[in-house]
């Protein structure tokens, strides 16, 4: 984590290259991302498990309540615009590949704040109708931006295991 932050500051150049490479990989998964069907889910998510580091999450996801409904990227990539989806894929693709290659990551992975925010929004992307009543705010938060408001009611706080109980 700390290493990633350092990198973020120091190697903007790498990031730009990565966005380019990542985008190519990303377009593929994202374009198919709106197709339906369990077979798609499986193969799409399988591509994450190309890294054995992700195998545990993949196995847990298959068994999870969402294994039949949502692929990795339904929860782990933004839904608001194609641009941010590409950026996300490039960013994650770069950092995950880097970490994987160097082997420099912690035993138990932790979702980063950047990705947590994406996942938080992903829940609402599918469940907005169900949760609209509970998505109210405290008085003091009424004037803050929409994104901050959403985060103040964190779904993951209670439902951290819906995608995979690892």
């Amino acid at each position: 984590m700390q290493m990633i932050h350092k990198l973020k500051r120091e190697t903007v150049l790498y990031l730009i290259i990565a966005i380019f490479i990542g985008a190519i990989v990303g377009v593929g998964t994202f374009t198919f991302g709106y197709a339906k069907g369990a077979s798609y889910l499986r193969s799409d998510s399988q591509s994450c498990a190309n890294c054995h580091v992700m195998q545990g999450h993949f196995d847990a996801w298959v068994k999870s309540s969402h294994g039949k409904f949502a692929a990795c990227n339904d929860c782990h990539s933004p839904h608001d615009s194609a641009a941010s989806a590409y950026y996300c894929k490039a960013r994650n693709g770069f950092f995950h590949s880097l970490a994987f290659t160097t082997g420099n990551y912690e035993e138990n992975l932790r979702i980063t704040d950047y990705n947590r925010r994406i996942t938080e929004q992903a829940c609402r992307n599918c469940h907005a109708d169900l949760v609209h009543q509970i998505d109210i705010r405290a008085v003091g938060e009424l004037n803050q931006s929409a994104v901050e408001n959403l985060e103040s009611n964190s779904c993951i706080r209670c439902h951290s295991t819906v995608g995979h109980d690892t």
């Binding site: 169900l130 009543q133 008085v139 003091g140 929409a146 408001n149 209670c158 109980d165």
Partner: protein
Amino acid sequence: NIFERQQEARTTVLKVVDIDDNTADPAVWGRNFPLQYDDYLKTVDMIQTTYGGSEAIPRTPTDEDPRDLVSRSKIERIPQLKRLWAGYAFSKDYREKRGHAYMLTDQIYTERQKVGQPGTCIHCHASTYVPMKELGEGDIHAGFEKLNALPYMEAKAHVKHPVACIDCHEPETMALRITRPAFMEGIAAFKKSQGVQDYDVNRDATRQEMRSFVCGQCHVEYYFQGDEKRLTYPWTEGLTVDAAYSHFESSGFKDWTHAETGAPMLKAQHPEFELWSQGIHSRAGVACADCHMAYKRVGAMKISDHHIRSPLLNVNAACGTCHKTGDQELIARTENIQARHQKLVKIALDAVIDLIDDINAAKANGVAEDKMKAAQQWQRKATFYVDYVEAENSSGFHAGQEAARILAESIDCSRKGQNALRE
């Protein structure tokens, strides 16, 4: 865009009636929010858990007290309490708390009223937002002062409902808000002790904090300060029992004088908010509403369960999303903490009683003034500490280790008090 969607979805709440900042009656709000209202009404239910909840005890209504159901008497069940509070109204009548529906009636008919209580009491036992606004001509703080100054029986004529929607919600957006002046002041004093100046709870609190703060308006230790009996939460030095005790020491405040020993006493009342704040759940960001108002699904909607009650009557929803062990095991874990706690409470209560006995004996046999003073001071502290966790309603669950620590210190004080008489 997610925000748009949210707005869109929000409009599906059918506005049947207009609600504004003067609509006190929850039934009116209930027409727009029937699901929440239905649950809200269920707080009349009385169900006992092993250590909490409440049991309905039938009684024959009298002219003086028309209630046909009351909760169990705690002073009968825990006889040490009568002597703990000798000379104070609590030794006459102190019962298990029960659902919000009863808050007004139970306050009106408790025998503690016989000593003549101030209007201040009403702050936590009724929907006071509109009454305060009216009395204060738009200013709830001014209204609060006026309500406090009335004798209870006059003050009560100004209120109608138990805590209602308007006491926790801003009617326009349904956002949570704080309506209680004593909490606004208390939490600002606490934040100041933490280095935060000019804290305005309705401006500065996060939504997740609000999900506990709305309860912290009432479920806290309090006292009546000064001659005007101003309702105050003793948080100037922090939220721990030590901070509260130290707050009282610095002003030399006392609630009453002990009838047997003559010690200047303090009464601790229901510090759920404070004890919770010292526990692991609070540290992990788990709010009162998370457990006591767990989400429930009703049809196509997910709502907060407004049937506020013991989470042990609703374990699956209240604990289950975070703890994947079965319901029975969760109850067992909780009761394990509570059983250990209650055993220790008994030891601490017995220790205070031993001290009271010894002071009485020393009085009878004669003892030096300074020894007596010292013993009384220990009695004051020991009682406040054990009362703090006894009056707290989770039987230690909200912060198990901290509660045991407080009891350990109470025991130390009681026994030191006994020694002080003999040194």
